[in-house]
Symmetry: C2
Subunit: 144 residues, 2 copies
């Protein structure tokens, strides 16, 4: 009985570990064999007006936080500023599916970012990619 | 008593959830307030000989898997191939600390990759970055 209780509890605790739970969920549809098959992986390269770096960083951080918090289909939105040339930014974007991406660009937080940074962004390159090791996204093991 | 047992068990289960556990561990030193403070974030941009793409992908995938599996200090090693120009690769590398990075480049699996791809890699740019939202690395919440 105790074993059964603990097993049920362990299951509940694992559901409370969202990174792990999200990682195991199918990308789209029920019973998908490969949860990464439908993922969209993109690297955005952005050049920002030097006079507006701080303002851009605030908006980029906000859309990152909001998207990761509110959109289950946004698996990663990780934004970086280049140290050597601080006008250069990179964002690794991973969406669970095409539908998740389409939903993302219609959200209020994305539109706020998009419209709010129109005059800050001097150049934007969207580089669609295929991951070499899709499951490497989130560390599963911590073997010394 | 049962509550205490469950609490201890929950703690043990959380340790079994490596993404979460690693995410909460200090980057370096004991009791670091910000587990991301010492992180090294780098985007590597690599151009590969078109005649050796498949061989490169095998080696890059292997070093990614080995590093993520064997090195606690390698938080992310996520490699991507550009769809439009398949000779272009990008690797997001996040190390817990400078020491973790130095350890990484001395490992057998990294050296195998480095030496094995010397004649495949035509260009290599290492772009050191600062993350805008360091904690966005791993999704913590899955709010609909």
């Amino acid at each position: 009985m105790l074993a059964k209780t603990l097993a049920a509890f362990a299951s509940a605790v694992c559901l409370c570990c969202p990174a792990f739970a999200a990682d195991q969920a199918p990308a789209s549809g029920a019973g998908a064999a490969n949860p990464y098959a439908g993922n969209i992986v993109r690297l955005s390269m952005i050049t920002v007006d030097p006079a507006q770096l701080d303002a851009y960083k605030v908006m980029a951080a906000e859309v990152g936080r909001e998207s990761m918090k509110r959109e289950p289909g946004v698996r990663v939105l990780y934004s970086m500023q280049e140290q050597k040339d601080p006008t250069r930014f990179y964002i690794l974007e991973i969406y669970a599916s095409e539908a998740a991406y389409k939903h993302h660009i219609q959200t209020a937080h994305f539109q706020k970012y998009k419209q709010g940074t129109l005059k800050m962004v001097k150049d934007l390159q969207l580089i669609d990619c295929d991951p070499l090791v899709p499951e490497a996204l989130i560390k599963r093991e911590n073997v010394p």
